[in-house]
Structures are given as C-alpha cells and as structure tokens.
Subunit: 338 residues, 4 copies
C-alpha cells in the first residue's frame, strides 16, 4: 500500500451547533453512572456561562483536537463560552495550527503495522494518522514566526498570539482555535510549549541564533494566568483530559495567595477523563482531591470518566443551545497584557 | 438522615424513541476514538437488523438496568430488534422483575457512608440506591413462583418465562423486559441464575422442600441457546458489559460444532465495556480475541470502550429511528421449546 | 508458520514457596498507592489464617490459572490456607483440569493475527495460547465422567468432586487444584459451571441421553455454600478477579439471613482486580459498597487495583512464609455433604 | 481531629538494595499478563545497562516519589544506571527537594474528607498527605535560590543544578535525587518546570523583580536534551508514568533529524503506566505507536500496565543485583554544558 491509501479519509470535526443534544441530556439527568455525570457536567458548564462574574478557563490535554473536537473548542471561544485556554502544545500547534495551515488528520486504525507506517512517514495517534512531512512544514512555520520576533523571553501566550496574527493573513482554514481566540482576545497558554511541534521550530530558531533569540518563559505564563485569576475572583474550569493544563490552571489559586492576594477557589469545575486516580497522577486525581489543596470548591464539581470525543459533543451542544452565552459580556483578557 | 431522605429521587429510564440521535451519530462517524467507535457500533447494530436471516442476541451484564437503561432493552425486544436475551440474574430479577413489582432504584452518591446505608437497609450500586426490604419481597415472589411449579430441572429460560406469565397478571409496571419478552416469544437466559435475588428465593424453596423441588439446570440453558444458534445459521451479538452472558452466547458456535452440526461464527458483534483486556478476563477480551476461538467473525465487530449508560442511548436511538426493524420477521424463538 | 511454532514455550506456574517475599512486603507496607495496598492485602490474608475460627473462601475469576498462578491456588489448598473455593468454570475445567490431563498453556503475543490463529486451531487469552484440539479432549473427558454418574440434579461441587476422583486415577499432572482439593476435602463451587469446557461436555451428555441425564443445579450450589457459611460464623474472602464467584460468595450472608439463621458479615476481605467501579458491575464494585449490602465488614478489607498475576506471588508467598497455616485445623467442609 | 493526627506515619522509601527480587523476576518470566511484562521490563532495563554505548534516560511523571519510590530513583543515579532524568516539576521540586529540606509525605487515606483536610492545610495525593505549610517553605526556598542567580533565561536543567548546589550545603536529608544527580553530573530536565512548587517561587521572584529576573526557557531544555541524544547515538528510555517527560525525551530523535543530524531511534524503551491508550493521550500511547513516529525502535520495548509503586521495586532490584552497572563508564552529561 502507498501513503495515499492510508491518508484517504480526513477526520471531520463535529459541529455541535448542527444538532441539539438537549433532549438526550434531559434524559440522562435522571439516569445513573456516566449518563448522569454527563448531564451534571453539562449543567455545571451552563452554570459557569450563566454566572455573570465567572471567568471560564478551558483546559485541554490529549488528542481530542485531532479526533474531531477541534471545532467544538473554536465554537466555545467564538460563542463566548470561554475566556482563557490552557492547553498542551500538541493541541495548539500540532493539531490546531497544523490544520489552519491547510493540513488534515486522517481516519486510521488502532491495530496498524507501525513499522510500515514509519516507512511511509505516517504518524499514528491511536486510530488517527498524520502526514509527517506536513508536520515538518508546521515546525518550520513556527520557526519562521520566531525568526521575525524580538529576541527576548516570551510567554507562550504572547507567542501564540503572534501565531494568531500570522493566521489572519496566511491561514488556509480560517476558523481555527488560535485565530478565533486571537480575534476574540481570548488568551491561550501552553505551559509546556516546547513539548510540541513548536519546540522543534524554536530549537531550530535558537540553534541558528545562539546568542540572540526568542526564549519561552513558562514562569511568565504562570504569572499571567494568575493575574487573570486575581482580576476575576470567580472562575470555572472546564477540563478535557488533565495533565499539565489542569494542574497549571488549578494552581493559580495558590499562586495568588502566595503573592499576597488571596482569591476564591475555582467555583465550578468539570473534568472529562479516562485517567485512573490510583497512581496519584494529576490527570486522574479527582476534583475532590483538588479541594484538599484549596484549588477547587466542591459545590459544583463533576468528574466524567469517559473518553472525551464521545461525550463532549453532547455537553457542549447542550450549553450552546441554552444560549446563555448570548447574554455574557466577553472578558477579553488578552487586552490586559497589551 | 432517615431512609426516606436517601430514597427520594427515582432513576427514570431513558426513552430512546423520544429523541433521534441520528445527526449525532452521523457527526461521530467522521471523528476518531470513542466517537467513531460508537458510530460504528450503531452501524453494525443496524446491519444486524437489516440482515433478514440474522438472529440478534442481546447480552447484558453489569447494572445498566438499574442505571436507567431498562426501557432501552424492553424497547429493543418490543420493536423487534432482539430475538434472544442472555443476561445476569441481577439484570433480570433484581432490577427488571423488581421494578415490574412496583419498586424503584434511586439516585444516590458514589461516595456514600456505607455503614450508614447498612444501618438503614439501603443497598448501593455505585451511585444508585435500592431499598433492601423491597428486594426481599422480590426474593419471596420468586419463591412463590417456584412453589407453584413442577419439581424438576428447569432451564432458567423456562423459569423466566413463568415469571413473565406471573407479571401479565400481577405486574404493577407492565413494560418490563421480562413481560415484553414473554409476549413477544423472545427467550431470556440467565446462565448464572442463582447468583441473584432469584437464588435467594430458590434456596428458600429448596430448603422447604428438600426432596422434591425445582432445580435450575444451566446445562439445559446452554443446550437451548445452542439449539437456537443451530437453527439460525446467521447471528449477531449486541453485548453490554461482558461477563458470563458474553461468553455463554459466544460459546454456542463451538457447542454446535461439538454436537456435529457446525454453524457459522457470529457474523456481527458489538461490545460496550470499560473492562480491561490485560487480565485475560472474558469481559475485557476483545472481539478479535474471540475470533481466534472461532466464535466471532471479524468483518463486522466493534468494541466500544465506554460505560454503557452514556453511549447506549445514542446507539439504540439511531437504530430505532432507522426503522429497519419494521420490516423484520420476528423469530419467536421461545416457540421452539413449547 | 506452523502450529508448533506458536506452541513452543509453555507457561510455567510460579512456586511461591521457592522465594520469600517478606522483605518486599515489609518495604511496601510503608509506601503508598498499590504498594501499600498489596502489603495490606498480605496482612489481611495472614489475619484470616491466624484467626482460628475463620473459614477462608478463595474466589477466582479471570484467567490467572492460565497465566502461571495455578500452583499458587493448589498450594493454598495444600497448605491449609483455603477452606472452600468458588471459581469460574474456565478456571476449574478449561485451565486446571486441562493441565491435569497433561496439556499446557503457551506463551504467546497479545498482538497476534487472530485469523491465522483460528486457521491453526489455536485459542488466544490475551498473550497466552491454547491448543483447541486438546481442549476438545478436555470437553470429552467431562462427558465421560458425566456418563458414568447417576442421572439427577448435581451441584457443581458434587460434580467437581467426581472430577477429583477421576484425576486420582488418571491425572498426568498430579498437583492440580481439583485433585488437591479432593484430597484435602476442600469443596470447589462453580456457580456458572456450564459456561466452560464442562458445559460442552455436559450438553453432549444430555443430548445423547435426552430423558435421563445429569443436570447441574446452581441453586444447590448456593444452598451448600450458604450451609458452610452458617456453620462457620466467621469467614474471610480472598477474591481474585471478581465476577460471579465474588458475588456468589458474598451473597451467602444474605441467604443465611433469609433462611432465618442470621450470620456475621464476612469479617475479612481482599480483592485483586483491574475492574472499574464506575459501571456498577460486580467485579469492580468496592468492598465498601458490599458493606452497604451487609455482606462484608469494613474493618479488614482491601482492594488491590492490579492485574493479579503481578501481585499474587508477593501476597501469597508472604502468607506462606509466615507459616501461620501450620497451626490451623483444617475445616474439611466437603465432609458435611457426605 | 487535629493536624498531627493526620500526619503521623511518614511514607518510607523502599530500598531496592536491601532485598533481591531476582527469584521472583525469574519466576514471572515464564508466566503471562503483567507478570511476564514485568520480567521483560526488568530484562530490557538490564540490557540498557549492559550496552556500553547506551545513554539511559529516566522519565518520571506521576507521584511515585511521594509514594515511596524516591530512593529508587536516587539509587539508580548513584549506582550508574541512569545518565539523564526528565521529570515533572512536582517529582523534582514538590517531592524530592521538599524531602531534602527535611519534610515528609505521610500515609493517608484515599477516602478522606477533603473539606476537613483543607481546613487543616493538608494536601492529599490519593492516599498520601502533605503539610501545605511545609510546601510553602519549599516554594520560598526556590525563590531564594532564584534571587541569587543571574537574571537571564535558564534551562530547567541549569536551575535544578543550582538546587543541587544548594542542597550540598543546606540539605537536611542528603541522598535526594537532586543532590545525587548533582554529584554524579547527571542532568535533570523538567520541561514544564513552572507547573510545580518551583513555579510559585519563581513567580514570586519575577513579581518582585519585574524587569530583571530569572526566566525558565523550556526551548533551551529541549535543545540541551537533544544535544545529549546527538552525542549518544544509542539510547534507552525507562519511563515511569508518561506525560510530558515521556514525550519530551522521545522527541529528541525527531529534533536531531530536524537539526540536520539524524540519530538512531531510542533502541530500548520501557514504560510503566496505568494510562489508557484509547484517548490518544501521550501517557497511554503505546511504545509501538511511538515507533510510527520514528521515535522508538520496536525490538526491545515493553509496556507494563501497572501502577508503578507496585512493580518498580521488583524491576530495579533485579537490575541492581545483576550488577552490570559496576562495569559501566559514567556518561557525566552535565559536563558538556559547563
């Protein structure tokens, strides 16, 4: 088989505006197990949107953007359901920026012959394929953006804003999360930015300019996100996956306290994950556990133990069709850093 | 808190006829991960229904009936989407028969104080509560049914048919799976029947009549289910959970071969489970693994790694609204045993 | 590749007497997560053995016997650490009886080509292979045993005792669990006996003798196990896997109560499993949940969330080398049914 | 209950030199499931140590250091079994540095009342407790170290080396991973350094010195780790947990290629994790999947699906007692950056 035979059917991103999950969520509310948890998560998301003082932070780890959820995230930002994003570098660069450049993810198989894929330069994420040669173009585009910037320490937020600016002019696909967030003044943070396609581009940039180059200062990211939390006493977390983004967003409460400006715990929190709590890792740790750390309030928190691609469409479609977002005032947190 | 405080909000069973999941399934088909698997499962269920020669066997383990999926199963039987049921005793007796007698499951909490529940005679299934005193009435009703029967070895199918007959006259809630299956001549098998509320009733029955009593012969169950498989060369499995029902239904292919009447492997198979394949247990073993045993064909098989209460409503609503079941001829397999 | 190429390296059963895990368990006791849970499980097993009034019930589901734990179970019985066994049919017949007849399990791969295995009549359990032709000999041996018995309703315990008697004369490998238990008067129960290789043999037996044959009455099993619980007020459960054996053994407490002879909850309980509690299935339900049902006391209970083949050798080696079993009086529960 | 009642029993770190797991690993090698995988992991670790050209990279995510595995990691470095460490910030700062300052983790309960813990300023990691007031001292010590450094962009490796230097003079407990690595010239990388107690200290440092401060440049980390990979063509990964450290270490192969200096894939790889592959996250993705990306060779790779605290002691004790490390020449990779 040739490379084209493997890269035939692109993943298509689900449009949660095109159907209304309300009757399903209403039915699930009176069930048990994951069904009830899913309905409770939808309710808490809707509560966040309805709370006029609440800043909503979307945290994304894992590969849901490659798996067809990319437009969900862009729609959340576009339709004023999210005020800040904390994500893995892969989500933002390898997936979102990558597709904005005109590339695609492809439907594949989880039981592929990985040696054959390697020979064809096809990368696999569970049951999804990527053309590695296209990914290298993505790496190089990040380098090109870095080459044009002031040689100083940047937060990932600042850098991603420059990627948004780039996409306004150069995007092949214009509804990416990065570009939408740029336009809506919604900041995007990647606390482990170099752990992604961006890392490759930035290393190449630094190696070429050993003395005078862009650095990515994750402390600055933490400072900036904490600044948002300090300005917005009330906040909610909508967490997909877990990992560094979850911990990073939770930690702002503690960081504000340390800086002498105590803030409220995150009032609302939802996490969708398949991670196991029993190894003490952050991804699987329950939101109740986070309460012991003083990070998350326990009145409105819900874990949904499910792979997110299967339940996100229901949860976000529900919140979208409740239309509470129409009455929200956008926070435009990006502006405080300009 | 008193008992009534815990048993306030009954679980309500979702009605997959009341909403149409088709647009969601259509969207999920082009995604990845659990979303695509869910759509593939819906497609395979629909293929089973469309195949005029296919006998569809519904296998149920776990507590989805307590969790709000009870009406889904009854609807599948009522609307000609299922020709035989293999289930755990708990599913059929503790949950379905129990609610048919007028009792309910209640919305509870997965982090309850189990000692307090114990004091109040409340039984917990993850986040769902049961009134143990009502369950004892269920036990005793099974005993009453057994007391009225011929003292001989019965298959669980025969016995459950008597429970159906009982419900026609005595049910408080008339759309139970047992009663619906009784009316549609859809046989129900519980290969581990005594491992349930029925077991309590039947032990009491036998202890009262040490020499002359009803016995439940699981070999007869296996013989009867194999008989169905031998008469219906083409078959499909729709498996919720795993466990004994999954293995039992799969094994009919091998049993037929052993009896000198080789049959085709199950042509279609879907399994929805959170079980892990890595301990070699039947629940988590993949359908591909079952292919090595000659039980399941691999052309149309799909594992959905999800807690079933969250995805069953989507899958079955899709198949229901495709309405291929309207054109099916009911198999009425119960009749071959009369 | 030929069949022999796949069936080259037999699984060898670990001998927990040949090494002493004590220093490892002692170290794990002061750690956290699975390490501490493993040590706690070892301690509770040792408490059961030290309690002079305690009947110890070993419950086995899953395929650990195929995976190299078979001798652990036989050693537990032989060395007076177990007074009754409740297991899946597969554990007792397909694995233990099968190897007693001289056959073996083989080291295989979890990413095998299952269609190829099918063509070669090799059955796969995760990463372990079985020669299906040998398994058919096992089926037929069960039939032969049944053919020689009185045509009446038997409990699985009674039938397995006959299998033990058969092995005394015919076994190729003499230290099987069945034969050891036969000799030690330790009863073995399989509440879903026909869901195994035994089922095939017994169906063939019944089909050949439609009017006059052996039936397997699982109600009788439940009655007998409850009888043991009623005679031994104090009891402990050592559960590997979960499933029907776990539920069946737990339920004896309730059954005794229903028969008007209330007994104590199981005083000790250990469960080793990878099952997830979140689908409400019995395998994954916590022992605390069982306390709400009045089945298990919560003072000495421990869940170990691990695949059992990796932790059983540590736990049982520890208890073996503590040698408390040397001072126990054997219960010989089989004798009460003779 | 008072705070002291919860913080009574410190976690004690297991000493893998004090027992020899060899006979257990030898027994597990001929079993199946997790047992065989554990033995295979031990063998591959030993192969890495025996390969004279191989650089061994230890990757740590999750909370095993809090759970009693801290000394295992320090022993691996001390006894020349590891040449570079990539870890989460929590592992290095919140756990290892924290204990080096004289503080402890405590044995707790996974079903604690998190609101009560919050009131007492006790943080919970699954079943383990931390005194939050002590953690704040840890934060502030990091700040103090930063305050004394040149205001420029540092890699986390450079910064952690300063922490090692600090511990030489100030440690209360002297066998920490940080101090041992400092002395052995083994570099430690935290690609998401600010996502930890260090982040709090560094934010405080930057807020106090808005114009002239230490920044942590994760690009520099990536550059440095890639430099090591380019100098050591042959390499092996020993991965506990997954997450950012796993991905970061794997990515060096691709990064070297991008810099025009193609290197071999990681020749050896072991990963111990409970993460699920089915959500496409990095933690759960198989090492075979990494092969499609060209990161890991498939000849000597082993996933062990287990919570690490339960299996690490066996695996590393085995490799320690094989004593191949005695013949290794230390790589001292820290020196190339000086």
């Amino acid at each position: 088989m040739e490379k084209e035979d493997f890269l035939r059917e692109p993943v298509q991103h689900i449009d949660i505006k095109s159907f209304d999950s309300t009757p399903i969520i209403e039915g699930m509310r009176h069930m048990s197990f994951t069904a009830r948890d899913t309905a409770a998560a939808a309710d808490i998301l809707n509560m966040m949107i309805n709370d006029p003082e609440c800043t909503i932070i979307l945290c994304i780890a894992g590969s849901t953007s490659a798996a067809g959820c990319m437009q969900i995230y862009a729609d959340m930002v576009k339709h004023n359901m999210v005020d800040a994003v904390v994500a893995t570098g892969a989500t933002i660069v390898d997936m979102d920026f990558f597709e904005a450049l005109g590339f695609a993810h492809y439907k594949g198989s989880s039981v592929a012959d990985d040696r054959q894929l390697r020979r064809l330069y096809i990368d696999r994420i569970y049951d999804t394929y990527i053309d590695e040669e296209q990914l290298q173009i993505c790496d190089n585009t990040v380098k090109k953006i870095a080459d044009a910037l002031d040689p100083r320490a940047w937060s990932s937020r600042e850098f991603i804003r420059e990627m948004g600016r780039y996409l306004v002019d150069h995007a092949v696909k214009h509804d990416s999360l990065i570009e939408t967030a740029y336009e809506q003044d919604v900041p995007i943070f990647c606390p482990a930015f170099s752990d992604s396609s961006a890392g490759f581009g930035l290393v190449a940039h630094q190696v070429e300019r050993p003395d005078d180059h862009v650095a990515i200062d994750s402390v600055k990211d933490f400072r900036e996100l904490t600044e948002i939390k300090m300005r917005s006493d009330i906040s909610g977390l909508f967490i997909v996956g877990g990992g560094v983004p979850k911990n990073f967003a939770q930690d702002t409460v503690i960081c504000a306290e340390l800086l002498g400006k105590p803030v409220k715990m995150h009032r609302y929190a939802v996490q969708i994950t398949v991670a196991d709590p029993r190894d003490g890792g952050c991804s699987g740790s329950t939101l109740k556990e986070a309460a012991s750390w003083g990070k998350v309030d326990t009145n409105h928190e819900q874990m949904v133990f499910a792979e997110a691609a299967g339940v996100l469409p229901l949860i976000v479609s529900y919140a979208y069709h409740k239309r509470a977002w129409e009455k929200r005032t956008p926070r435009r947190w990006s502006r405080i850093f300009q």
